[in-house]
Amino acid sequence: MENAINSSVEPLASVAILSEGSDEPAKLAEPVIHLDGLSVQFGGRPILKELRGELRGRAIGLLGPNGAGKTTLIHTLLGFHPPSSGTAHIFGRDIRKEAKPIRTQIGYLPERDSFIANMTCVHFVRLMAELSGLPSEAALERAHEALFYVGLGEARYRQLGTYSLGMKQLAKLAQAIVHGPRLIFLDEPTNGLDPPARQRMIELVRQIRDSGKAHILLSSHLLRDVEECCEEILIIKDGSIAVYCNLEEERRANRKFLELETRGDREAFVEAIGSLGCEYALTSERRLKLVLQNDVDIRDLYQLAGAHKVQIRRLNFKRDSLEDIFLKAMESGNGDGNRAAGMREGGK
């Protein structure tokens, strides 16, 4: 019966995957997650309020203040909590009616560290694969594959209990992808990891995203992480969607704002920039911001720099776009939900 379901889903999948390449067909394709007035309450307290929207991105960053309902949203999509009203569709399946078939398509990396004691890592991942319905042998193969993929080498024959936090996190990632899901929920995957481990995790998430074989919903508090691996972001604020937009577009939007750090006598250099018709502001004795005019090109700046023997130590476009979006979303009320919708239409 599961097989039947799979086969019925596959073609759909291929469409979704094809669509990754260009934005255009994405509209036609089934949305990955379709929130249809999804509401959740705990003991009468509303946690999620009437969420609506169609998430399509390959990697969606899920942001929001504590208690905004990020984790609740993930749990609800996994079917841990029943929606109090409304519903959501994942790959076109209703989470209320078809929880099981959906879950065969989903991988989940929980936030709190969770594993099964006195088991070797391989055994653990294999067990998880089998629970997802893989036959025993296939499960073993996939387990090793997944562990190899996340880069747990010899360690995979060791007891999970002996693992360091970073390794546990990788093991958790392995169990989340072992059954080859097409949608992966990552709840604070970098939480508590030390810098190398964190970087490793981000690399992996990027790779999975770029493989185009699976969609990722990543919830995190570290804007850096989201910025580094997500294309779209969904910001939730006290239970409703504050923003859903595409990071790339946002970045492109403030592409003209440039930040420079220079060494050497910059007076003349700066004047020259001014003479190009670019507005600029000196932020510190070495740094300056400037707005590129359409006809002006970075090469021109280097021209001037060369001419005035100035070193351009640092040059980058205003990068903190995500932070801007986030803060804006936070200060402005929920009226922003509409703006989000607007952005989505504009985005595609």
Partner: protein, 317 residues
């Protein structure tokens, strides 16, 4: 004691701590000035051990620890000056946020009124006023983190030891908390903070202590630490189209020791011993070859790089 000169510092004298055979920290000698001091290092490098030693939760196997010239042997004085926000995310059962802070202030021996004021003040600081009378059990991760922080600073200690205090906080709370740290540091307090998020450490801390495998591998102001490492040439990342071409050109300069093309084929890492010369060269290259530069950044004048050099790991590139 002869701690007079130390009584404004946190002093470790040749301190080691072993748990059975397991090494906590080894031969640590430190004198920590007021201000924000960040402990950075891989998990299990001894950050928490160091903090537990400062607060007398564990005793050193050898050596002496003193905080502002005090020892935990005299708890009445010691712990009224020291606040510790440990990483144990756990609470005495069935208390509300307010009760939690208030009760322990009473344990401090504070009279009712004062304890209430301090408790509210602390809750206000971490902005938990509205949740003050809800059971902690129903708090979200971030709120629990904040209420623990509040509890640690409620009695307004002179030394605050905070084990990953930003862990699980949302972006605004992070910014807010960091601001609070800075403010307290201005007021001349000691803040010992452990964190994994290097760019935040970079922004907030006055000095950094890098730990690895229980040893202190570096301490001091980040910039200072960087300058110590002369043998490490300056590393620069240039994001541009045709990094290959750029690579070919930069080797005209023999001060350039290495050029590595970024994975995504849109950037070049350059290691040079003479940064000034290189940047000037860059000017001409860009112009002559009409290179489209996306961004230029010294890849290693920050903690991240220092961490790379001294501790290593998959970061960067």
């Amino acid at each position: 004691m002869t701690d007079k000169p130390d009584d404004h510092m946190i002093v470790f004298e040749d301190v080691s701590k072993f748990y059975g055979e397991i090494l906590g920290v080894n031969r640590v000698t430190l004198a920590i000035e007021p201000g924000i001091t960040s402990l950075v290092g891989p998990n299990g490098s001894g950050k928490t051990t160091l903090m537990n030693l400062m607060t007398g939760l564990i005793r050193p196997t050898r050596g002496r620890v003193s905080v502002l010239g005090l020892r935990p042997d005299h708890p009445e004085v010691f712990f009224s000056k020291v606040g510790y926000c440990s990483q144990f995310d756990s609470f005495p059962s069935a208390l509300t946020g307010f009760q939690f802070i208030y009760s322990y202030l009473r344990v401090h021996g504070r009279p009712k009124k004062e304890a209430q004021e301090l408790a509210w003040k602390a809750l206000h600081r971490v902005d938990l006023l509205e949740a003050a009378h809800r059971k902690i059990a129903a708090y979200s991760k971030g709120m629990r983190q904040r209420v623990r922080f509040a509890q640690a600073i409620a009695h307004e200690p002179a030394v605050m030891i905070l084990d990953e205090p930003l862990n699980g906080l949302d972006p605004m709370a992070r910014a807010e908390t960091i601001r609070l740290f800075r403010q307290l540091a201005e007021e001349g307090l000691h803040l010992i903070i452990s964190s994994h998020i290097l760019h935040e450490v970079n922004d907030m801390s006055d000095t950094v202590i890098l730990l690895n495998n229980g040893y202190v591998v570096a301490e001091g102001a980040i910039q200072g630490v960087r300058d110590e490492m002369e043998e490490h040439p300056m590393q620069i990342l240039i994001r541009c189209d045709r990094p290959g071409l750029l690579a070919a050109r930069v080797f005209e300069q023999d001060s350039v020791v290495e050029a590595k093309i970024h994975k995504d084929k849109h950037g070049l890492f350059v290691k040079t011993r003479d940064a000034d010369a290189f940047y000037l060269l860059l000017n001409t290259i860009v112009v002559q070859d009409g290179l489209n530069v996306e961004s230029v950044a010294p890849a290693d004048d920050d903690l991240n790089a220092v961490y790379q050099y001294l501790i290593g790991g998959g970061e960067g590139a």
